[in-house]
Structures are given as C-alpha cells and as structure tokens.
Amino acid sequence: MKAISKSLLAALIATAGVSLATLPAHAFRAFVSNEKDNTISVIDTDTNKVIKTMKVGQRPRGILLDKSRGWLLVCASDDNRVEVYDSTTYEFIKNLPSGPDPELFELHPSGNPLYIANEDDNIVTVVDMDKGTILAEVPVGVEPEGMAVSPDGKIVINTSETTNMAHFISSETHKTFANVLVDNRPRVAQFTSDGKILWVTAEIGGTISIIDVETQKIIHKITFEIPGINADAIQPVGLRINKDDTKAFVALGPANRIAVINAKTYEVEKYILVGQRVWNLAFTPDEKKILTTNGVSNDVTVIDVKKERAFKSIGVGRYPWGVVIADK
C-alpha cells in the first residue's frame, strides 16, 4: 500500500515537473498568500489558472520575490519567522529571523538587507539575507505595517497603524530622521520610480497622502467618492504605481473596487469593480495586467491595464492577502 502511494506521488511530482517545464517562456507566475489556509497559490498569468498550491507556515501575509537569488520570501506571521522558498522549484530553503509577528517587508534594492515590520512589537527588524542575522532593530510607532525602500536605497519607510505616521529611517544609521503624520491606519507606502514622491494609503482615514520626499511634507491628499458606497467603506490599502509614474492603482478594501489614479494630477479617473474586500495588487512585469487579492470572496481578479477593466476571476485559497509576480 505504502509503496503504491509513494510511486503515485513520484508520478504526480514528475507530472508537475513536466507541466512546469512546458510553460511558455513568457508566462509570468503570480504568488498569492492565503492568510487562512497557510498556503501560497501559484497562478500562471497567461492561462489565469492555479498551477500549484504551496504549503507554508502559519498566517502567511507579506510576500516578496528576491529576484537576484531566485527566492520567494513569505512572512509567516503566527510562526514569527520569514520563510524562504525557491521561486522555481517551490522547495523550502530556510527560515530567516524576523522578530515577532512579521507582517510586511521590503528588500534593499541591492538585494540586502531585508526590512521587516513587526506588528506586535513596535519595531522594524533589519535582517542580513545571507548570514540570516539581525543587523538592527529600529523603534517605530504602534503596530508597524507598511514598508518601502527608496529606489536609491537610502531611505526606508515604515507606516505605523495606530500611531498613524510614515517613519523615515536612514538605511545607513538605522535611525528615524522624520515622522510624517498621515491619516488613520496607514497601510501601504510606495515611492515613485524617480524616488521624489512617496504615496501612503490610510485605510480608516480613507485617503492617500502624497509626500514630498526631500522636505517630508504632505503636498496633496487624495480622497475618494463612489456613488452608492458609504464613505466609511472606502478604505485604501494596497497600492501600485506603474514604472513611468503616470498611473497608480489602489485597492479600496470593502468598497470592492480598484481606483485608477492619474499619478501626475492625482485625479481619480476610474473605479474598477473587483472581488470582495480587495487587499493588495500587483502588476505583471510587462504591466499589461494587474492581479488583485480579494480577502472575503477568496479569489483573485485579473484586470486588463490598458482597457482598465476586470476580465477574469480566479479562485484561490481562503483569505488571499498578498501577491507578487515573477518575471518568468
């Protein structure tokens, strides 16, 4: 009996290997963390199908790709660690120390170190990727959440959900040098490609603060209005700006929509209806598609970026949370 199941397993693995090898070269793969299932769904963004479900640690949320090493990094929040997987073979490689309750993280543009927001401990942990050691712990506000690193690698941003600030941290000294008060429950921060502007979403405040990086001053606030949707339900969370800094796409949580924003004028141009409680989103590397994670409806919505229209929904695990997309 045992032998049979073993050979069956081997056959399955072989089949999986073959199907992977036969993927067209241009196919991108999206990795979606399913917070409740402790899994990662791997999606082929050409066929819009789940091609693999990876078993990972408890409460996977933040997820990112280390392209230089070919690693997939997963914050296993309830296991208090960051898990490292091979992004092609899906094999487990190692754990990185993370400090307690890691939620979101960001990699230095050079590929090292890793900056982790420890939601339960009011600190940002700086981790050496190769040695697997903690380089520094930076005290920040209550419930650190979003992380961003400037394109030149000099500034690390952390947002704190209960303190309501974007903390500017020097990547050299590991000290905060500015703290910008934004609206309630800031979640995600992203720099524009030129590194001059920082966008910060505020989930409960319902706004996006546009911050001038040099002066650390808020120069604009984006607000939202959707006919028929209560203002309280419009909660900006995930955010992505395209490479030429012309358009931003923002997940609006329980409003079940993605806002399309002109990144030059900050005008909201359109709302795209997606699945329920949309958390996060990611561009395909060619920026032709966006995938969104919809926490309540357990699916991923695929958006055609040019048409600004949702055209496909893909069932994944329970409570899909984060998404990253690999080049190949």
């Binding site: 939601e119 339960d120 419930e143 303190t163 903390h167 309630n184 409960i204 203002a231 339900a233």
Partner: protein, 426 residues
C-alpha cells in the same frame, strides 16, 4: 497613597498557553483578595515631575459601589477592569508621543463615593487636569458634570450605558465611549431581523437597570419590526449566591417559568444585575435560543475578536494586564486614545484645544472596528459597530447588511439625530 493594584510586569514576548493559565490562577487569587478585603480609598495624583516633553494628564475615576456578586465565577469583574484599558492607551499614546515630544500620564481616583469622589475630581480639575475617564453611577456622573461645568475639563463615560445620560440628561462636558443601551439592543434586533426570528418573548429582572435594558429591547424590537408576544418578570430574592446542588431546582424552575409563553422564536432576557439570566439558556420549555444580557449578547467588544487587525491589540492588552479585554477596558482605551488622537492631530497638550478638536468634524478614531469612529454631534456618543456574541466568539457584527442610513450606517443603531431629546449641544 499608592494604588494597591497588582499589575504583572509587561513582557515583550507573547504569553504562552502555560503563561495564560498561570496568569489565570494569579487573577483568580486576586479576585478573592479583592472580595475579602474592604476596598480602601486610593487617590493617586498624576504627579508633577518635570520633563522636556509637553504632558497631557488623564485621571481614571472609579466609584466604589455595592453590587451583588454575579452568578458565575467567570463573571467576576477583574480588579483593574477599565483601568487596564486606559493604561494600555496611555502606553500607545506615549509610543506615538515619542515622535512628537508629547507625554501622557495616568492617575487614579479609585475607591471613593459620591461627594467625596466629586470633591477629589474637582480639586484635580482646578489644578489643571482636563481629562477624566469615569466608571461611576449615573447620579455621580451627573453631579460630577455639573461640578466641572465651568472648568476646562471633559468627562469620558466609559462605564454606563444608561440612555438618559445621552438624552434628557446629556451634558456638554460628557462624552460617551461606552455604547448606549439603544445601540446594543438595536445591534441585536438587527441580527434577529436578518435571521427572520421575529417572534419574541421577554423576561426581565426587578432591578432598575434590568428595566432600562428591557425598555431598550422593546424600543429596538419595534424599530426593526420584531414582535414581543409576551413579557414576564423574574422575581428573585437575593440570597446566597451559591448553594450546593442548586442546579436541580433551577432545572425544574426555568421550564415551568417559560411553559406558559406562546410559541416564539427567541427568548429575550434583561438581567443587567447578572442574577438569573445565566439560568435560561438550555433550560426553556421549548428549545429556543436566548438573547439579551445572556445567551446571544450584544457587546462593544469581544475578548476573542481578531477582526480588523485586533490581534496585536488583544496581545498588547494581554501582556499588560494578564487577562482578556472586557467592554469597560475597551471603552476606557477609546477614551484615552481619543485624547491621544486629538493631541497628535493638533500638536497640542492644552486641554481646551484638545476638547475643541474632539468636538470638531475633523476628529476620527481608529479602534479595531474596521472603520473610523466619530462622536455624534448631538450627544457626544461615540458611534461604533457592535459585536453580537456567544461566550467564546462573536456571532456577527452589526449594523447588518441592508440596514441603510443616509449619513452613516452606524446611525442605524442608537438614538438618531431627528429623535434625540438632548439639548446641550444645540
């Protein structure tokens, strides 16, 4: 005189299962200690230490009261109930204050009654303290409000759900972070309507607070199209809380008591004094759920909520207090966080400025309820989603889907602006 609370030292790491059990044991011991020891008056002023940071001083006020012990050993209020919530919020405020050069301190006025309590609070207010988070009787609250009328001070009512404090007896210098009875029973009624459990019967106790809860249930039933088919009062004589073998009699008494009710969907119970409601679930003549103060209970907080990022909040509270968070702790936390939020946004520690900011439409508070919370402009009640709960987990959160409002769906619960009888804010 220092206060006599035993507060376990905060630990940085999560409390393990064994740790919780141990803390539970310590906590149970603490209960018995407070039950046997007569509470001594403990007034701890916030101190006058000098520091470079601008300071906001807050005082937690709890009145000593005679209360009958609850039926269940699990329902004894922990000794620091409420205070621990305020303490956590002060710690949260101080983490933020670090970046703004603001400091928050928490003093206590605990174990006093009536006039003596009011005298102490007024003295502190005259000394310049502007914020009092209170858990006192309704009578003391109103007297205190009048006594502070001409001082730049505000009272946060964290302990009372009584409706008249928000309506006929509302006061300009009182804010309510505790949910009102109307909000609680509306939250329950919305869920019963959603379930189509519309035929109700009501059992209420003899105490004034039982009557207030029962009245609120009736108002909510009417508001959401539910029918109360019959009502009965449960009369009891306060005696010994425990009696060995007491269950045999109760097991026979409750079916008989509920036998004459017409066919119904849900039995509502109004026992705010916590003297008999616990007897009703699983003992009714016909098998029906129980809701109200017992059974399915509407609450401002649930100690097991992990919704909307509350996990870390619950963890922080567990580390600080060695127990789970109750409604009073949550209301006190929201009061102190409101002060912190006003200080952060205005960049000021001046009580007058913060009080004005909290009254302005700009004020909003994030409090692990999935949306911003604001104070109603007509009576200073904090709007908030309400959990409808079973003991170990929430069953749902109201407002229910489909109950609409032109301003905010949160105003489908509680007394709305067109209905209010509060005049103080006009």
């Amino acid at each position: 005189m220092p206060n006599t609370f035993a507060i376990p030292p905060p630990s940085r790491r999560s409390v393990t299962k064994r740790g919780w059990a141990l803390l539970g044991l310590i906590f149970a011991t603490a209960i018995y200690m407070t039950l046997t020891a007569s509470p001594s008056a403990a007034v701890q002023p916030t101190g006058t230490e000098q520091s470079s940071a601008a300071t906001v001083s807050i005082i937690y006020v709890r009145e000593d009261r005679d209360r009958l012990p609850p039926l269940s050993l699990l329902e004894f209020p922990p000794p620091n109930e409420g205070y621990d919530g305020a303490k956590l919020a002060v710690s949260d405020n101080n983490t933020t204050g670090r970046f703004l050069n603001q400091k928050f301190t928490l003093g206590t006025i605990i174990g006093l009654r009536g006039d003596e309590l009011i005298k102490n609070v007024v003295e502190e207010a005259k000394a310049g303290i502007g914020f009092f988070v209170v858990d006192v009787t309704d009578e003391t609250l109103l007297a205190l409000s009048d006594a502070l009328k001409d001082l730049p001070a505000v009272i946060f009512n964290a302990g009372s759900s009584t409706q008249r404090l928000r309506e006929d007896d509302c006061r300009l210098n009182v804010k309510h972070t505790a949910a009102s009875y109307a909000m609680l029973t509306d939250a329950l009624a919305q869920y019963l309507a959603w379930k189509q459990w519309r035929k109700l019967v009501l059992v209420s106790g003899p105490k004034p607070e039982d009557k207030r809860y029962a009245e609120s249930l009736k108002r909510s039933a009417k508001r959401f199209g539910l029918k109360i088919l019959a009502e009965k009062e449960f009369v009891y004589t306060a005696g010994s809380r425990r009696a060995d073998g007491g269950f045999e009699q109760v097991q026979k008494q409750i079916p008989t008591f509920t036998q004459e009710f017409p066919e119904y969907d849900v039995l509502l119970v109004a026992d705010e004094a916590n003297q008999f409601g616990e007897y009703f679930p699983f003992r009714t003549w016909i098998p029906r759920p129980v809701a109200g103060t017992h059974g399915l209970v509407p609450r401002a907080w649930h100690p097991a909520s992990e919704l909307w990022g509350a996990t870390q909040f619950q963890n922080r509270f567990g580390r600080l207090s060695g127990r789970t968070m109750r409604d009073l702790d949550y209301a006190a936390w929201m009061a102190v966080r409101s002060i912190g939020e006003a200080a952060t946004r205005t960049g000021s520690t001046e009580p007058k400025k913060l009080i004005d900011y909290m009254l302005s439409p700009k004020f909003e508070l994030a409090a692990f309820k999935g949306q911003k919370l604001t104070y109603r402009t007509w009576n200073a009640q904090l709007r908030q989603p309400i959990f409808v709960t079973a003991p170990n987990l929430h069953v749902t959160v109201s407002p229910q889907v489909g109950f609409l409002h032109k301003k905010t769906v949160l105003d489908t619960m509680g007394v709305d602006q067109p209905e209010t009888t509060c005049q103080a804010f006009k």
